[in-house]
């Protein structure tokens, strides 16, 4: 064997050793240090000036860098599907309101964040966009956008009315930039719903892996409270739910003539079936009879308008 062949054979293990070293440095996620923040380049979703208000200190944080602004809270928004966060400060004279505009992937995600943070006592004002106000803050879900306007002054309560026009203008702008809402989130019936109880759970709702994007709310029927929900999926999801109900210890399982199935889970009764082609259900009923009553009301109220 020639000398050069010996050298080549000797180099191969060295290359392997080098590769191991290089790989170990790059395989470990801990070695990934995010690049430094760059000047925001994303589209500015709102105008820089509205009436007497001017937007300053604009900054854009894409989803993977939102921790730079809201570290520890960014993971609340991620499950709903978020593209990023645009921040800024609206000023008019002595007034200053901070803006946190979460750009979600769709209106369902925006509603999930909106409903997830809404205080139970807050009342959503009627309108095309969903909105509630409190002393020193205005919170809006407009299409795929979730907007928070926060007074920098503790006296915000006294001045909250001055921001009404700005909030209205931003709401209109954002709605115009968002595709129309689609999907199951709009069809939970309004009648008998407990105000402020509507929420979106992005995944693993109520402990079931089969229940994702669950829009749910509390209803009172014949003085009995129960939870009604719509979820992603159709008959396939229903089959998985039924399996999980049995697997997780559901008792007294039953199937209804309409194909829905249910049972007793811990101390409450629940039923899931198909309404308008989508997975739907009721839960938290104290008795089987009450659960069936909720289910029948749910089906009746969810009939498509002729």
């Amino acid at each position: 064997m020639k000398r050069s062949s010996h050298i080549v054979l000797g180099i191969i293990p060295l290359l392997i050793a080098g590769g191991i070293v290089w790989k170990s440095r790059h395989y470990d996620p801990a070695y990934f240090v995010p690049p430094q923040a760059t000047t925001p380049t994303a589209e500015s979703w709102v105008p820089d000036k509205v009436d007497t208000w001017t937007l300053t200190d604009k900054a854009w944080f894409p989803a993977e860098r939102m921790f730079e602004k809201i570290d520890g809270k960014d993971q609340f928004y991620q499950p709903f599907g978020v593209d990023g966060l645009q921040c800024g400060s609206w000023t008019s004279g002595a007034e200053a309101w901070d803006m946190y505009l979460y750009v979600m992937k769709d209106s369902k995600g925006a509603y999930g964040a909106f409903s997830g943070e809404k205080p139970a006592a807050a009342t959503v004002e009627p309108g095309t966009a969903r909105r509630y106000s409190s002393s020193g803050s205005v919170v809006i879900q407009a299409g795929r956008f979730y907007l928070q306007l926060i007074s920098t002054s503790a006296e915000g309560a006294a001045t909250a009315t001055t921001i009404t026009n700005l909030a209205q203008a931003l709401s209109s702008t954002l709605l115009a930039k968002s595709p129309p809402e689609t999907g199951t989130m709009l069809i939970l019936p309004a009648a008998d719903q407990i105000a402020g109880s509507e929420k979106l759970i992005p995944k693993d709702a109520f402990g079931y892996t089969s229940l994702a994007n669950v829009m749910n709310a509390q209803y009172v029927i014949n003085q009995t409270t129960g939870t009604w929900f719509f979820a992603d999926g159709g008959t396939g999801a229903l089959t998985r739910y039924t399996q999980e109900l049995a697997q997780y210890g559901g008792e007294e399982l039953f199937t209804l003539p309409d194909g829905a199935s249910g049972g007793l889970m811990l101390d409450s009764w629940e039923i899931a079936g198909i309404i308008n082609g989508g997975l739907a259900g009721v839960r938290n009923a104290p008795t089987k009879e009450r659960a069936l009553q909720h289910w029948e009301f749910f089906k009746q109220r969810s009939k498509p308008t002729p």
Binding site: P13, A17, P29, Y31, K69, G72, K73, S134, I150
Partner: protein, 323 residues
């Protein structure tokens, strides 16, 4: 033996060389693989305990609408500030100033509480009182918007902004982060350290209180630490043994923490808890947030690590007063 021109001696030599190279490769791989969580700038330093001898297992709770008076009263119940701060001490105060939020939103420590602690330290004869945090957002902006700069300076302290040169690799804790980049220089400078956490909910850990507040002394890509939040909080409790903690429960951010943003998420707490047992203080703080101690996983883990007791009423000294 000769086979295809290869002698026995050549065969043994080559096998030996190949084995040595393979062993060397393995050794190099072992040597470099996952040895550190982060590349270290140098040798990690150990942060000493800042506790004063004979002051362990203390806690006092003062209820009252006037935060400054409640701070003073709670400290008095512990034996007075002079029990902890001596003339000439260089005192480092660590409030929670994580976000550029105004104080009324409850995401940061109240200026009134910080100011009173500064005044107390001055009364005790501290030679220098500095206020430090490494916020999530721009540090100067956070200190300014939270009102902490104005409060500290008016009371005789000063803000120490987290300049890059202040960081070094330090030892943290036994569970997740043996060492990390932190504000080593200020910790080396200080002779005493007082934690001034606010009481707020936290999206991941359930509560952000005394131990979580030390997160603000870290640098580097610390957002990664949220992946094992409860173990990391215990590590943070091991990282700093403070001289004293003054927990600010004047406002309680009960929902949507750690950032908050809606004034309706904030409720008046009208309570100050001072003490030296981080676990006891955090357990008490959790109850202010309407959380059961069992719901906050790090509390039991911290107790197992010997950082303190969850049963605050069984401490050597526990006092509770209403102003």
């Amino acid at each position: 033996m000769s086979h295809h021109g290869l002698t026995r001696r050549e065969f043994i030599t080559r096998i030996t060389a190949a084995t040595a190279l393979a062993a060397g490769s393995g050794a190099l791989g072992w040597l470099f693989h996952n040895r550190r969580l982060v590349p270290s700038a140098g040798r990690a330093i150990t942060i000493p305990s800042f506790a004063v001898a004979g002051t362990d297992s203390l806690m006092a709770v003062a209820h009252g609408q006037d935060s400054a008076k409640a701070v003073a009263a709670a400290l008095q119940e512990l034996g007075g500030i002079r029990r902890f701060i001596k003339p000439g001490d260089r005192v480092l105060l660590k409030p929670n100033c994580a976000f550029d939020r105004p104080a009324h939103l409850g995401a940061t420590t109240s200026p009134e509480v910080l100011a009173e602690v500064v005044r107390q330290c001055r009364t005790a004869g501290a030679s220098d009182i500095r206020v430090i945090d490494n916020p999530i957002n721009d540090a100067a902006g956070c200190f300014s918007k939270s009102g902490l700069t104005k409060a500290a300076e008016a009371a005789g302290g000063r803000i120490w902004l987290p300049e890059p040169g202040l960081f070094s690799t330090v030892k943290i804790g036994p569970l997740c982060i043996p060492e990390w980049e932190a504000l080593g220089a200020p910790l080396k400078w200080a002779t005493k350290i007082i934690g001034l956490p606010t009481v707020k909910s936290h999206n991941l850990s359930g509560a952000s209180l005394t131990m979580k507040n030390w997160y603000g002394l870290l640098g580097g890509p610390r957002n990664r630490l949220h992946q094992s939040i409860h173990e990391v909080i215990v590590d943070l409790g091991c990282f700093i043994t403070p001289t004293l903690v003054v927990m600010d429960g004047s406002r309680l951010l009960k929902r949507n923490g750690p950032t908050g943003g809606n004034p309706d998420d904030v409720e008046p707490g009208n309570v100050i808890a001072a003490g030296t047992d981080q676990v006891a203080l955090d357990t008490f703080g959790a109850t202010l947030l309407d959380r059961k101690p069992d719901e906050i996983a790090y509390l039991a883990k911290a107790e197992q690590q010997g950082l303190g007791k969850r049963d605050w009423k069984s401490l050597k000294t526990f006092r509770e007063i209403t102003l």
